[in-house]
Every structure is written in structure tokens, then in C-alpha cells.
């Protein structure tokens, strides 16, 4: 049994608005549940980032999520958005929960990369740092999934050091091929080769990080990269919007979509696919 993403939701992305992260998260969760055709009462699990200001034990008070029986968190960094899907998939596959919501919101500004890190990356810019917004996805077991559901074909995590804090250790991890090895294992477990990937949503458009991810995931020429790039919202909200874009791409006809988090910190990726 595998898991499927059955609903997505997000708030408008803003900058400098007088809005709280819990309010944005609640709005995104409500939107994702509407998209999935599910009610608050049906949700029995949530996964979040560990520094997300709205925790699972806040949710009953904020939006009457009274039935949470499985909940967990991944490291709060833009490498971890796909890891939320990996975690939710695990919960679904183990039968720990039936309707799992993955959510993330932020209302504060994310600090820009340190100059030293920028320089080590070849001066690549990291746009989308100032976005406020919320994103949420709803996951269920594939058997129970409805039309419009997007299958989770595979996933990976790799606990590489933070480039911002330990640049030398991060470079050592790259030299050791930690991320590319994990990517190979993900492809193999899913029975997919890089040439099968129709579209890749990579954190962060269109900068230097995309080049690292192209190498890590052995992307072929035919793979469309970041179709959502160019707009001010693209790749924002710690990579959450990349997940939503990949779901939209599969719903729109792509057969295999890759989503990869930032390769500058503990990172992760998922392969999403069409039902057929």
C-alpha cells in the first residue's frame, strides 16, 4: 500500500502583512481539506516542521482538530518540505492514521544566507525569503484515494550538515555523495529512473541550488525544471509551494514529478506520480 496526496491548500503569499503564522496555517489546512473533500473530524494525524509556531496540541484550540492520534515533526529548514510527505506516507502505510495533514506556515522574514555561504555557492541568490504564507497537503492511503489523487512513489531524506553553520562539514558531505546516494536509492525503490521524471520542482528557482539538485538527482535534459519559477511566489515558504506545484503538475498530466528540498541543510525529496 502506498499513500496519495488527495488535497492541497495555500493562503495568498504576502510580505509585511499583519498576520500570524497560526492564522495562515489554519487557513491553509482548511483549504486543503476542502480540496480533499474531507472534514476536520476526519483528520487523525498531522506532520509539521519542528519550529512551526502552531503545534499539534494547539490545533484543537485553534480549529477543532480533536482527533489527532499521530503527529510528528521534521527539522525546520527548507530542505525538509518533502520530508513532511515522507513522514505522512509512513504514518499512512503503517496504518497509524487515515487522513494526515502536512502543514507549514510562516509570518516572519527568513534571514538571508550569510555572505560566506553565498560566496561558497558562487554568489547565487536565494529569492523568496520574505514571504508570509501557509501551505497544507492532505494524505491518505492510495486504496482510499479519490479522483485527483497523486501517488507518493518514493521519498528520501539525508541528514547533511547545515551549510550556513558548518560549511566545511557540508562540503565534506557533498564530496561523500550523501545526497546523490540517497537519491539513487529512492529511484531504485520506486522503480523509476531519472529519465522518467517529467517535471522537477527544485528549491530554489532559478539559482545555483538548482545546479546542485540537477547533479544530485541525475536529471535528464527532457525534465522540465521549476515550471512555476519566475513569479514572486515561486519556491517560497521553505519549499512547501514546490510540493503544491508538483501536485498541480501531476494533476495536469505529468506522469512523474520530483520535488527536492534545499541541498544546504538536512534535505529530502519525493517522487509523485499519476494514478496509472
Amino acid at each position: 500500500m502506498t499513500a496519495a496526496i488527495v488535497g492541497i491548500g495555500r493562503t495568498p503569499f504576502t510580505s509585511g502583512a499583519d498576520v500570524s503564522a497560526p492564522a495562515l496555517a489554519a487557513e491553509a489546512i482548511a483549504a486543503a481539506l476542502r480540496d480533499a473533500g474531507r472534514t476536520l473530524d476526519e483528520v487523525d494525524g498531522v506532520v509539521r516542521f519542528d519550529r512551526q509556531p502552531l503545534w499539534e496540541y494547539d490545533l484543537p484550540g485553534v480549529m477543532r482538530l480533536h482527533g489527532l492520534h499521530v503527529y510528528a515533526a521534521v527539522p525546520d529548514a527548507p530542505g525538509s518540505a518533502p520530508a513532511l510527505i515522507r513522514l505522512a506516507t509512513t504514518a499512512v502505510r503503517q496504518g497509524l492514521g487515515r487522513v494526515i495533514v502536512a502543514y507549514h506556515a510562516r509570518a516572519d522574514a527568513r534571514p538571508a544566507l550569510a555572505a560566506e555561504v553565498q560566496a561558497a555557492l558562487g554568489g547565487g541568490d536565494e529569492p523568496g525569503c520574505l514571504v508570509q504564507g501557509g501551505c497544507a497537503l492532505v494524505l491518505e492511503a492510495w486504496d482510499a484515494a479519490s479522483a485527483g489523487a497523486v501517488r507518493v512513489l518514493g521519498s528520501m531524506q539525508a541528514a547533511i550538515p547545515s551549510a550556513a553553520r558548518h560549511l566545511d562539514a557540508w562540503r565534506s558531505s557533498r564530496d561523500a555523495g550523501v545526497v546523490s546516494d540517497a537519491a539513487r536509492r529512492m529511484y531504485a525503490a520506486a522503480g523509476i529512473t531519472p529519465i522518467d521524471v517529467d517535471v522537477a520542482c527544485l528549491y530554489t528557482h532559478p539559482g545555483i541550488l538548482v545546479r546542485l539538485a540537477r547533479d544530485d538527482f541525475s536529471l535528464a535534459e527532457r525534465t522540465r525544471v521549476n515550471p512555476h519559477a519566475g513569479g514572486p511566489d515561486a519556491a517560497a515558504l521553505d519549499g512547501m509551494d514546490d510540493l503544491l506545484e508538483a501536485v498541480r503538475q501531476v494533476r495536469g498530466g505529468a506522469r512523474v514529478a520530483l520535488v527536492a528540498g534545499s541541498p544546504l541543510e538536512p534535505t529530502s525529496a519525493v517522487l509523485l506520480g499519476a494514478p496509472a
Partner: protein, 136 residues
């Protein structure tokens, strides 16, 4: 050591600003769910009763009853030493929500559950007022 200033609440955020602005004007501003009509406290973006996210603010009556209390004999902070002993009360408002505060103008050993109280305001800083309680 009674000159120690009292600790102040965390600076207001988007969800709590209306409440603290109301306190400064000596108005008890609460949220009410537009969908199910129930009042709630503390301020937050959605309704714990029905889950709806549409919210309106209203000014509460400032009346309620003591639901429970405890008498503080030892200060956790020096700023509260001059008030000892004092009663920290949990008040259920007429509108339903619960608030915590100090009970003023009543000896701590003369409190009973159900005691009718009304809000009094303590201007603890130029721009910060806190709701406390006294017998109605």
C-alpha cells in the same frame, strides 16, 4: 524590594493586538465565532468549538464569577511581594470564556466559588493595562 517593575505581557501580535488595545482603553475585547456564535479566549485564529475561521470582536460585559482560585503566599517574582498574600482567580465570564487575574478588594480567606466579580484595570505601564477582578 518593592520598586521592581512588574513583568509585562509579551508584545501584541496580529492575533492578540485587538485584545491588548482594548485593555489599554479599559475595554475587555473578546473574539466570537461568526459561524457558531461562541465566544473564546485567549485570542486565536479559529474556533475550538466548530472549527470555523471567521471571527468577530466584541466588548464583553466585564462581569463573571469566580470559578476557582489559589492564594499566593510566596512571590515567584519580587514585583509581587508587596501584594502578598493575594488571590489568583480563575473567572468565568458571563459570555463563557475563562480569564485569570488577581482578586482585589477582598481578603483571600473570604472567597467562595461563584462569587460575582467585575473587571478592574491595572495600568502597569504607559501603554499596558491588565484586567484584574473585584467583587461585583
Amino acid at each position: 524590594m518593592t520598586s521592581m517593575p512588574p513583568p509585562l505581557p509579551a508584545p501584541p501580535g496580529p492575533d492578540t493586538r485587538e485584545f491588548w488595545d482594548g485593555c489599554r482603553r479599559h475595554e475587555l475585547r473578546l473574539q466570537r465565532c461568526v459561524d457558531c456564535g461562541r465566544a473564546r479566549f485567549s485570542p486565536r485564529p479559529g474556533c475550538p468549538w466548530c472549527g470555523a475561521l471567521r471571527t468577530e470582536w466584541f466588548t464583553a460585559s466585564g462581569r463573571g464569577r469566580v470559578y476557582s482560585w489559589t492564594v499566593v503566599h510566596r512571590p515567584t517574582l519580587p514585583a509581587f511581594e508587596s501584594r502578598l498574600p493575594y488571590a489568583a482567580v480563575l473567572v468565568q465570564l458571563e459570555e463563557g470564556p475563562f480569564l485569570v487575574g488577581q482578586l482585589r478588594d477582598r481578603a483571600p480567606d473570604a472567597i467562595a466559588a461563584g462569587l460575582p466579580v467585575r473587571v478592574v484595570w491595572d495600568d502597569v505601564a504607559a501603554d499596558v493595562s491588565l484586567p484584574h477582578w473585584r467583587p461585583a
